[in-house]
């Protein structure tokens, strides 16, 4: 009996004190246990290898992520909100609203764009804010790499901020990485995660400062790889920036256009070659391209399905009425000019199963992403020439402007013009750069947006009930969710 009690009591004590290990860490992911993390900032990027990884991510994922936000949604703002295209499917409220100019702060696409652009700024900041310290501490990073990688990130950030300022006007400008949030500091630090909008002037200050550094330090142009944020890209963006109303300086525009032109680009012979493809692969890295996002046939883009077909797999995903449909006004503009080469490269007519805007056996589609291997050209020489023409015209040099416009017209197989007006230049930009993301903001900066957009639905019932544009609806609303969560954000007027 006593032995039983002894052993029993010992067993009880032993079992009662036995416990399990409560210190467990993840074993299938990177976490603070297995990665070297800086205490103060909680920053996990501390070596050259980290920076190289981020630079790879810039080209490999950040730039390729533009498909939904910076191609699809951007084209709605520039082509559908203007006069180049109808929204492809009037059953989709978000894009119909922008076509009718009835967009409001609940618009899902506007919200996702806001979030994505801010996300890209933060991505770029991970490089920009860390690279100086790493260069000083880690000897394996060369000075060349330091300057180039920093410039590439600066160009990306400036590109994003510029896009944001076009859409919303005043936008937050975040140039630092906010301190790591911990439970202790969250109440103080929380505000830093919700920055207020800066006046558009300050936004431009930031863009210009970043691009000027990059113009001096970015990589040189590489003819074999145009998916590179090079000096020419920086110069081209500066030219675009100085053309906007906020900082208008036509001298600078002309100057930066010159610098881009001096970097060795040339127009391709046939307009259609820019988006060309053969049985094996699509064409990329043309001599005219200054910046493009490239894909391979095996690992291609998906954005082709938003516009027409994938020539390499024609029956895939061809069952719904697409994202944007070319407008009668644009087709009429091409026809009036006798411009078949550019019309055929931009618009394709095809048979389909729906007849929302055109008869089903002769439906119009946007044609500038014909395959899943096709590149998306962000900047090319043709656009720079026309921007140059704008600058020269505004400075009073009509002959110079005409010269550049004629370069473009000749390449498109059209007759030269004797002398150009601003309307001619704008028309040339429209036909040359259709569906490349320029139309609406071209009209805005020359104060023609209201007039042109309000006129386009007068004779074309396919636009539906379009609300008239006015000064306030040149900008998009800030999304309601962003405002609900960030009291320092003020909505744009009129929304």
């Amino acid at each position: 009996m006593k032995k039983i009690f002894t052993t029993a009591l010992l067993v009880i004590t032993a079992l009662a004190l036995a416990s399990c290990d409560l210190d467990l860490y993840p074993e299938t992911s990177y976490n603070e246990r297995n990665v070297n993390v800086e205490e103060e900032t909680g920053n996990q990027y501390t070596t050259r290898a980290d920076m190289e990884g981020l630079r790879n991510a810039l080209y490999n994922s950040w730039m390729k992520d533009i498909q939904e936000k910076d191609i699809c949604d951007w084209l709605i703002y520039t082509e559908v909100h203007a006069d180049n295209a109808y929204c492809g499917s009037p059953s989709t409220g978000e894009i119909l609203a922008i076509q009718q100019n009835t967009q409001d702060s609940d618009n899902k696409n506007i919200k996702r764009d806001w979030d994505w652009y801010l996300g890209q700024v933060s991505n770029a900041n991970q490089i920009i804010c860390n690279i100086d310290d790493i260069a000083a501490a880690d000897n394996s990073m060369t000075d060349d790499e330091h300057k180039k990688w920093k410039s590439e990130a600066l160009i990306w950030r400036a590109y994003i901020l510029f896009k944001m300022s076009c859409i919303w006007g005043d936008v937050p400008v975040v140039t630092t990485i906010p301190p790591a949030i911990t439970a202790e500091n969250i109440e103080e630090v929380y505000g830093e995660y919700f920055p207020a909008r800066k006046p558009i002037d300050e936004v431009y200050d930031r863009i210009i400062e970043d691009l000027e550094y990059a113009a001096a330090n970015a990589p040189e142009v590489n003819p074999a790889n145009k998916m590179l944020l090079s000096k020419a890209v920086a110069n081209g963006l500066l030219a675009r920036v100085y053309a906007e109303k906020t900082r208008r300086d036509w001298d600078k525009v002309a100057d930066y256009c010159d610098r881009v032109e001096a970097a060795g680009f040339s127009l391709v012979d046939n307009y259609g070659d820019l988006w060309g493809y053969n049985d094996d692969d699509a064409f990329r890295n043309s001599t005219e391209s200054i910046l493009e996002v490239t894909w391979t046939k095996s690992s291609g883009n998906w954005v082709w399905m938003m516009f027409h077909r994938n020539a390499y797999n024609p029956n895939d995903s061809f069952s719904w009425s697409k994202w944007v449909t070319p407008s009668r006004d644009l087709i009429a503009a091409y026809d009036a000019e006798g411009d078949t080469e550019r019309k055929n490269a931009s618009i394709i007519f095809d048979k389909c199963n729906w007849s929302t805007y055109y008869p089903a056996d002769d439906y119009a589609f946007m044609h500038k992403i014909p395959t899943n291997a096709s590149s998306w050209i962000i900047m090319r020489l043709g656009e720079i020439y026309l921007l140059h023409a704008e600058a020269l015209f505004e400075k009073g040099d009509v002959a110079g402007a005409t010269f550049y416009v004629n370069k473009i017209r000749t390449r498109a197989g059209l007759a030269n013009l004797a002398s150009v007006t601003m309307d001619d230049i704008l028309k040339e930009r429209r036909l040359e750069l259709a569906f490349e993301g320029f139309r609406f903001y071209d009209l805005v900066r020359h104060n023609k947006a209201i007039e042109v957009c309000n006129a386009v639905d007068d004779n074309d019932e396919y636009w539906g009930t379009r609300e008239d544009l006015d000064e306030r609806s040149l900008l998009m609303p800030i999304s309601q969710t962003a405002i609900d969560n960030n009291p320092s954000l003020i909505q744009n007027e009129g929304y």
Binding site: A8, L15, A18, L22, L24, T92, G93, W114, G119, I181
Partner: protein, 991 residues
């Protein structure tokens, strides 16, 4: 050392002199018939025997002044002081009340009369008479304060159980299920394996003082289930139970025929249809069928003085009303207990269940293959198979973005989840004398899940785009639970009853999985290879692996004291440490206390005859909730950047460190719910009319939430908010009639709960729940000061007869109708819920009617947007024939083809109040002498009607349905699998 031990032994036994008497006698009822299987217990000890088949018992008592208790389920307890007698015969009276029933509470059990807390017992008598496949189904309508909703009719989906309102946002609001003392987790995931046939009793611990003993997992209440064991009183038993049921959809809709559809399309211009289309297919008939449910269960049990065992085996097959939905379950249970020595009892419980279920695409519109909505949206001219490609489902919709229900159903034809669940426990109980015992239990809860998905490359358009796909995932979830409990129970001087319990509990969990996928399948040979091996492309990185662990360590204790069963006090304490919390914050402490006073035992109450028992009780306690925590919730984690190795630049690439995927939180701690409860138990008229009334207040602090930060920063998981719930519950049981063999009993319960989000620290506004793709608006808005699941939108006040457009209220009077005019337009929480069960029996025939009801809850009928929206090429229901067409027309159906009319508004909010005659069961119990000759103790055939009659104004399939069961988005009908009405015939046979 030995002297100390000896001293301890003496202390424990507590008596210096013992006398020993053997008492025997017979127990009979008021008709003189012997009572079999009645327990005779020496008070204050665990020394007890059971009466045999003639009602005789014999017990040896040792106490100095022993008292014998004679008790059994359904009888009033009689106590007799031995006072030296060797023969004590007892006449025992039946009681309609079950005050003496033994009720399981956490880590122990107590008689119902001694409860100081809010514990409700679920009547499990009718488990064998109703075709409910999941244990949670039985609770519906039977327990005050517990809201059980069948949110979807999908076989195997179980029900959503809410005990006293929702107290959590990020964590689950389901109660903890504990089966035979082993905590199994929350929600359907935990309990889907259990065949209801194996359930003996079910208790619901509702308030803090009862549930707090489960500490960190008990904030939503605990459902305690004990499964069947052999019983000496009943002798050897073989039970066979089976049923066959027919299930059908609760309602159908009339849709536009081909001519009316063409007229609508011509009006809106969405689709250009040719003339002469005919009505070819009734999609309701094609998609829905009568589902056949079958259930076969066998149970074998026996017990004698030393051993008892129970073996159960069963098979259940529930076919859905939509072809590809089903749930099949095979279950096996074996429990065995033996008394090796007087002081050592050991036993084992093994449960194995294998079940497989397959579902449909739901929660989305017909443009994304949602089955339920496509039944309405597919025009009648379409046929099942395509005319130009006979292997394809119909594709010609003239441009409308639709797929037929036949195709949408085929999309998930091979999309099943197969689970093998093995729960085994072994226990040993060491008795030290008659007052102290130590019980150690080791349990293993092992779950293997195999998820499989295959879509062939031909029949469906999605399959053609993907060129076929297959995915396969296997996971293994292994949990071990170690419980050690020391329990001391003694009665001093016959009046002071003390129970002390102390123990430890440790739980470890390891989950691993491996999954792979492929696409590009060959269409030749009729898709003979329908697994991963048939696919040529494996994705850039086609396999992935998961591995995670967690552990909880607990210390618990309870002291329960009562003075003469009149004054009660209980104190519980539990300390839990969890690996999911940050270092320094891993431990949480959950105390609770309760007191009770049996007023009816006081001398001043002795004259009041009509009150048989009156007890008031009050309790307070704290519980935690850890179900919302990820396994490594506080750790800062980073992403992994992978590279496309088909691109020559990255042929040699290796993964690099990515950005932060969360913001680590070193202060992460338990979500704590503090609850106070006051209750009254009143039994009157000799137990024929009983009331239980409870009032409670729950306050949850440190509520866990995922707080988003401004894009692009990842969210931070932190203890962010506070929520409160208060409510009232009333349960009434009555025996209305009991004469001449005819009895009528009623159980009624009614409860109300008011939920409110009290505080949020950082982000003050949250939006949830998007539905229709027409406008993709969030329809739920959560802010402090309002309850969860409140709908947010515009107020629609009618259709403008001039324009046919919906008129929305311009609530801020700024001349425009836009987002700033939105307001709260509905609340999914009911004003109150009630349930009533009426049982009628006459001789062997019995009829039981269960009514469940919820009053005051709103439903957002998002499915209706797809039925009457008229905003694309979909077919609509005949309600749209009333649409506005000419100026001046007065109607409530607006003009077609306008997205403006579909904004989130009161147009889609409906009153979801309902009264359901949820269950009607008619059974006849054949028993009697001629059956006994055939050695059959019972044959009981029965007929059950489930969910047949519903009184509601809701226009959808069923007012209980909700696409999401999370507390923040209740009450939204969005293409959800409909609930069914069932007609079942079954038979229970006992040998």
């Amino acid at each position: 050392m030995k002297k100390v031990l000896a001293f301890l032994v003496f202390m424990i036994s507590g008596i210096t002199v013992y006398a020993q008497i053997t008492v025997h006698g017979q127990v009979t009822d008021k008709d003189g018939l012997p009572v079999i299987g009645l327990t005779v217990l020496e008070s204050g000890t665990r020394n007890g025997v059971v009466t045999d088949a003639d009602g005789n018992y014999s017990i040896t008592v040792r106490g100095s002044d022993p008292v014998l208790e004679f008790s059994s389920l359904g009888y009033e307890t009689v106590t007799e002081r031995v006072a030296g007698r060797a023969l004590i015969n007892v006449i025992i009276a039946e009681s309609a009340l079950q005050l003496d029933a033994v009720v399981a509470i956490g880590y122990g059990s107590v008689r119902k009369r001694d409860l100081t807390t809010a514990v409700s017992t679920v009547d499990t008598e009718d488990i064998r008479l109703r075709p409910v496949t999941e244990a949670s189904g039985f609770i519906q309508g039977k327990v005050a304060g517990v809201q059980v909703t069948q949110t979807s009719g999908l076989p195997g989906s179980g029900m959503t159980v809410r005990i006293r309102g929702a107290s959590s946002i990020a964590s689950s609001n389901d109660p903890l299920y504990v089966v035979d003392g082993v905590p199994l987790g929350t929600g359907n995931y935990a309990i889907a394996y259990l065949s209801p046939n194996d359930i003996e009793t079910m208790q619901i611990l509702k308030d803090a003082s009862s549930a707090a003993i489960y500490g960190s997992r008990a904030a939503n209440g605990v459902v305690l289930i004990t499964t069947k064991r052999g019983s000496k009183g009943s002798g050897p038993k073989v039970d066979f139970n089976s049923y066959v049921g027919l299930a059908s959809v609760t309602r159908t809709y009339d849709v536009l025929n081909a001519a009316q559809y063409k007229e609508l399309m011509d009006e809106t211009g969405y689709v250009n249809l040719p003339d002469g289309l005919t009505d070819n297919t009734n999609w309701f008939d094609e998609a829905y069928r009568t589902g056949v449910n079958q259930n076969y269960q066998i149970g074998i049990s026996n017990a004698d003085d030393k051993n008892n065992y129970y073996i159960g085996l069963g098979y259940n097959n529930e076919e859905g009303i939509i072809r590809v939905a089903y749930n099949k379950r095979l279950n096996f249970k074996a429990s065995f207990e033996t008394k090796l020595y007087d002081y050592l009892t050991a036993g084992t419980n093994i449960n194995y269940s294998h079940y497989r279920n397959n579902g449909i695409i739901s929660g989305t519109g017909s443009n994304r293959a949602g089955v339920v909505l496509s039944v309405i949206n597919t025009p009648t001219y379409a046929k099942i198979w395509d005319e130009s490609n006979p292997d394809w489902y119909w594709t010609q919709f003239y441009g409308a973005n639709l797929t037929t229900p036949a195709e949408n159903i085929a999309r998930t034809e091979h999309n099943f989840e197969e689970t093998d669940r093995l729960i085994g426990s072994v226990y040993a109980q060491l008795n030290f004398g008659r007052h102290l015992y130590f019980k150690s239990t080791v349990s293993m809860d092992r779950r293997w899940v195999h998820s499989y998905y295959f879509l062939d490359p031909i029949h469906t358009s999605y399959g053609r785009t993907q060129h076929g796909e297959a995915a396969d995932s296997r996971s293994d979830d292994r949990r071990m639970i170690y419980d050690n409990i020391l329990n001391f129970n003694k009665s001093f001087a016959g009046k002071h009853n003390l129970e002390v319990m102390a123990g430890t509990s440790a739980t470890t969990s390891l989950w691993q999985n491996l999954s792979g996928s492929r696409n590009y399948f060959s269409p030749n040979y009729n898709n003979v290879i329908f697994g991963i091996n048939g696919g040529n492309k494996g994705g850039l990185r086609g396999q992935s692996q998961g591995y995670s662990k967690w552990a909880i360590m607990s210390y618990l204790g309870r002291i329960a004291y009562n003075y003469n069963r009149k004054y009660y006090a209980t104190v519980n304490f539990r300390a839990d440490g969890s690996s999911k919390l940050a270092p320094g914050h891993k431990w949480g402490y959950f105390p609770s206390a309760s007191i009770a006073w049996r007023i009816s035992s006081e001398p001043f109450m002795a004259d009041i005859d009509w009150i048989s028992d009156l007890k008031i009780r009050a309790g307070w306690g704290q519980q935690g909730n850890q179900s919302g925590l990820g396994d490594y919730a506080w750790v800062q984690e980073y992403g992994i950047n992978y590279y496309d190795w088909t691109n020559p630049t990255y042929a040699e690439a290796v993964p690099t460190l990515g950005g932060k995927t969360n913001i680590g939180n070193k202060e992460l701690t338990w979500e704590t719910t503090t609850q106070s409860n006051v209750g009254i138990d009143l039994q009157t008229l000799g137990g024929k009319l009983n009331f239980t009334l409870d009032a409670y207040y729950k306050y949850t602090s440190n509520m866990l939430m995922n707080v988003p930060l401004q894009a692009p920063y990842p969210p931070i998981y932190r203890n962010e908010g506070e929520m409160s719930n208060w409510g009232l519950e009333l349960a009434i049981n009555s025996v209305n009639f009991d004469r001449n063999g005819f009895t009528w009993m009623t159980d009624f319960n009614i409860s109300l709960n008011r939920n409110r989000l009290e505080k949020l620290a950082l982000q003050q506004v949250y939006y949830f729940a998007t539905t229709s793709e027409a406008l993709s608006e969030n329809i739920v808005r959560m802010v402090p000061g309002k309850p969860l699941s409140c709908f947010w939108g515009l107020k629609a006040t009618g259709v403008n007869p001039e324009t046919g457009m919906v008129i929305y209220e311009d609530s801020n009077k700024d001349g425009k109708v836009n987002t700033s005019d939105k307001q709260y337009i509905g609340d999914a929480n009911p004003d109150f819920i009630w349930g009533m069960t009426n049982n009628f029996s006459y001789k062997g025939l019995s009829l039981s009617i269960l009514i469940t009801s919820s009053i005051g809850n709103d439903i957002y009928n998002a499915s209706r947007i797809e039925m009457v929206g008229m905003y694309n090429g979909s077919n609509q229901i005949v309600d749209v024939l009333n649409r506005w067409r000419v100026p001046g027309q007065l109607t409530d159906m607006p003009k077609s083809g306008e997205l403006y009319n579909l904004k989130a508004s009161t147009r889609w909010v409906e009153d979801g109040s309902f009264v359901k005659i949820k269950n009607i069961t008619l059974s006849y119990d054949f028993s009697g002498k001629w059956l006994k000759k055939a050695r059959i103790s019972k044959i009981q055939p029965y007929l059950t009607l489930d969910n047949m009659i519903t009184f509601t104004r809701y226009s959808g399939y069923d007012p209980e349905m909700s696409q999401w069961s999370s507390a923040t988005n209740m009450g939204i009908d969005w293409g959800t699998y409909p609930n069914v009405k069932t007609f079942t015939f079954g038979v229970n046979v006992g040998f």
